[in-house]
Amino acid sequence: MKDKISKIGIFIYDPEGNLGKFLSVEAICSKLSGLHFASTVSSSVRDEGLRDDFEEFVKKNKLSAAVIAGYSSRSNEKIFKNSFKKAGLNPYALAFINLGEAIVICGKKVKILDRAVQLIVRAARWIENQGPIETQKILLNRKVLVLGGGIAGIETALTLAGGGLDVVLVEGGQDLGGEIAAIEGLQDFLGDKIRALKKEEKIKIISSSRLANTGGHAGGFIVKIEGKDESVLEVGAIVVAVGYESIVPIEELGENFNSRVIGQRDFEKRLSSNDVPGRICFLTDLVDEDLKVQTQALLRQALAVKKEFDSDVICLCKDLKVSFDGGEELYKRAREAGVLFFKYVEKPGIKVLNNVVEVSLINEDYPHEEMVFEADLLVVGEKAAPRKGFEELAKLLSVNLDSNGFFQEDNVKILPTKSSKRGVFFVGGCRLPQNINETLTEARATAQEILSFLSKGEIELDLTSAKINSDRCVLCLTCVRTCPHGAIVVDQKEETAKVIPISCQSCGICASECPVMAIELPLYTNAKVMGQLVNSMAGEVG
């Protein structure tokens, strides 16, 4: 054992003097000296000092691996990794430990010093047999497929083309524009966008078509487009911007649904054809209570009716959600213009008698008396629902849908438009119903992400992805099913499952599920974990 780990360097640093209070670093070094470790201590506070110290340390001792021990070593990982790489060494043969652990885990029997040394020895064992990680160059196709010709798709395509990538935009219907084409006041904005889109040479628009098949991986998807003409393309990334469906909540309205009760989108059409009666009642939050798109449409429409037609406008809602751009302002203007707002808690009663809609509700402020409103027209907030083809599309792309049937992002906090499969992105309403400004921001952010990924045309990958031993693989397909990133495919020729390195995110789920133990993660091999368990528990230090 002693000979085996002789080339491992131990680099202890204590920039803030946290360790010094509890541990004598010299004592650690003297304990370790029997093990033929090369060890050094740095107390540099500044990053550059730390780097210089470490580089000198690497140069002086002929190392193959190193243990970095500090008080909170995570924050400086990059410095050490870069220095190691610079010296031509394997950056994965570095172990980082937090010597603070020794201070907080000190029992009656174990002394802080022993514990610190134990931590260092364990870490050294973790990396002692770490082989080099190969790298692979992967060519990236500089073409992007955008599914959906709504505002999300259009904006993404425009930004991508502006960045110099080729774009193929596939729209299921005849016309571009999607849902917002129906909204008054946005026609000019949309018209400009579509004109710009058609003018752009880098963008190819295929209408009345859909995605029929996909294969390959990020940087080299092979997609089949079906429709008027069939075509097979190779693209580097896929953007899903297929929007969502807006449905009038017929079930919740029951038998009261007739021509006097309409949805928000139908009312939009009436607004543009100036067919607006004298008394209008808006009712939102019947379903989908956390949809701020509903509130936005309500405020916009109520204000427009009040201003242009001077109708009596009453808005009934559970909660007004004004957390969108200019929401508060819009609400204030509606109030000032004379729109009345009432809050309800329990579902209001709706009756239609002699072409007059009667809405009755109990207001929280006057709980003893029922309020009754009469109106010529009742406009109901619409609920958002996933489109019909979502499941099929998710299966084609091997991505996931959430519990509501919308596309599930990989991480809601870090670039929420990323999917669990690398190279596939969700933009706009197909992920979460949202308003136009948010969609535009999302589309641009996604396009930037794709640009930074594809622009170079090639990528050098460290092959830390899972590795499948083809001799052992019995093609049970467990890994193919369990992989959350759709990164494992079946190689028919060689009769084995195969990992696509660019899609793999090294989570190791396949490795632990494989019934014949044919899969290993290079950085977390079975032998390494077992070695930790057996050696450390023996209780010997050094």
């Binding site: 937090n98 000190c106 991480n411 990133h485 190791g508 789920i509 993660l521 977390y524």
Partner: protein, 138 residues
Amino acid sequence: MKGDFEPKITAFCCEHSGLLSANMAVESRFVFSNDVQMIRVPCSGKIEAIHIMKALEEGDGVAVFACHKEACQFLRGNLRAEARVSSIKEILKEIGVEEERVQMYYLAPSNGIKFAQLLRVFYENLKKLGPNVGRKVG
């Protein structure tokens, strides 16, 4: 005799929650346990059944620190780990080892205090249980 007993704990920590919580606990100086070995894994779904069994063979208890349900970085890794832990508990019952020796905990990345508390409770429980009968002798 039981008072002197110091249980040996292996803690498998998911890089995305357990490990970060552990680091936070360390940095805030919460003293959590007397003899614990933390093993870092990229996802709790990576923890193999054999690793947990081996850890039990060499020690007294195994704690698995995973992300909250539905918050797994890799979608369903923590659910897989949960299934594995419960199947291991079944095996332990059959062979006559207390099933409480393997525990699964769910943490957010910033749960330093909770991490320390959970480990403390786990440690106290193991102390009550006494030495692991399934532990390798010699």
